[in-house]
Amino acid sequence: MALKGNLRDFSTTQLLNLINLARKTGALTIEAQGTSAKLFFKEGKLIHASLGDQDGHLANMLLKAGKLSAEQTRAIQAHSEVDSDKELGLLLINAGYVTQNDIVQSVKAYILDVVYTLFTWVEGLFYFEPNILPSEDKITVPINLENVIMEGSRRLKEWERLQDELPDLNRALRFTDRPDTKLRDINLSVEEWRVISFINPRNTIKQIAQSNNMDDFQIRKIVYGMLQAGLVELVTPEGGEAKPGMPPGRPRTAAPPPAVKRGVILRLIDRIKKI
């Protein structure tokens, strides 16, 4: 089944998070602002990206990364009879123009440039086509989406959106139970590490912010990034604080469900089975 929607309702961050957690393989196309972007994923990792008319040719990627001069790039495009990025890469390595590492880093930087641009798109149609991979001639570099999401979230400046995504600072945080996630593999800023050190189901987000002298915007940005990267999850603080994020004007009842005997439930099950 295809995933379709609009970024207005399901943001780039949320899409990447979904692809990461579901370890999806396929192509994500986003059409917005008169252009379109195409991202390719393999088992939840970003492996290639292109954006509208921006040439995804290897020579241009190397130019953008400063590994080739404009003149060299023009010469390659004018005279090279090699269409494949992989073949061109080998030729350039053998000729001593670049190293393999230069190529990998340049392709990676290009892919990241494209994907970070998408974080600023707040509206646009998207669709995900499973099991579609880039053509064989393209050089792919697997990129861990957790770091992309963290960095993309850092660039996400829309205060309103942050507030919308994380309305309630009286919730607490706990680390997710994901054995495949290792904190040391994720690049965290100093501020993020400071927040990490306070994460505990007893501490509300607001308390963590106060302890770190952060305002609501700063803490929202950091917590939002961590939530989207799947590092932490929201929980009700131990001690049961009020939840201002709930609709106002109504008393909140933490009423337990009515005590119903097991036999009643079994009778209900039996009845519904017979309908």
């Binding site: 089944m1 295809a2 995933l3 379709k4 929607g5 609009n6 207005r8 309702d9 399901f10 949320q14 998070n17 979904l18 957690l21 579901a22 919308d164 939530l227 999850e233 929201l234 009700t236 939840k243 994020g245 709930m246 609709p247 004007g249 109504r250 909140r252 009842t253 933490a254 009423a255 337990p256 469900p257 009515p258 119903v260 005997k261 097991r262 036999g263 009643v264 439930i265 079994l266 009778r267 209900l268 099950i269 039996d270 009845r271 519904i272 089975k273 309908i275």
Partner: protein
């Protein structure tokens, strides 16, 4: 006679009325009115008070199903409807991602009414080609792994039965041995 109650909730046009209508033994007591605002393009009528369905087990036991109103301005009804519920079902429209944020809000609100009240999420309209799969909805809505997210077609009796049974199994896990 003992009566027990379950609540069917979810965003506007998620299929709550249809869900109850499919399984109820009585004609659903539904207070639908013509829509006069911008939501009209989605459907012609909406529930302004509540849907009410019934399943009689025997002369001593009756299950009532209550559907919450679909529009935001009737949110005040939620808490009233949720009092004494055995469990609740959050119906999600799997083909309209624009409603996912509202679905998440509803989940949070209903969970706050009774922290220990069992619930499940039903990914409705799975018969439509653009339906998001239940496991993708789990991620999109940040639903805990311990909560069941089931495929659902609210017009299909077997599908609705399955959702109700799964909720009852969840309730059963939380009940003590007699």
């Amino acid at each position: 006679m003992q009566t027990v109650k379950m609540v069917v909730t979810g965003p506007f046009s998620a299929g709550k009325t249809e869900f109850i209508r499919t399984i109820s033994e009585i004609d659903v007591v539904s207070t639908e009115r013509k829509i006069t605002d911008e939501t009209k393009s989605i459907k012609e009528e909406t529930t302004v008070a509540m849907d009410f369905g019934r399943i009689t087990v025997d002369e001593d036991l009756v299950l009532y199903l209550f559907g919450t109103p679909g529009q935001k301005r009737f949110d005040f009804m939620w808490e009233i409807l949720s009092e004494g519920m055995l469990g609740f079902i959050v119906l999600v429209d799997s083909v309209r991602p624009e409603t996912f944020r509202e679905a998440r809000r509803i989940l949070d609100v209903f969970s706050s009414y009774g922290a220990a009240t069992p619930y499940i999420v039903a990914a409705n309209k799975q018969d439509l080609p653009d339906a998001w799969p239940p496991e993708d909805l789990r991620i999109a809505l940040k639903i805990d792994r311990n909560v069941k997210v089931l495929p659902c077609v609210a017009t299909d009796k077997e599908s609705v039965k399955n959702v109700l049974l799964e909720l009852l199994y969840s309730i059963l896990e939380g009940t003590e041995e007699e």
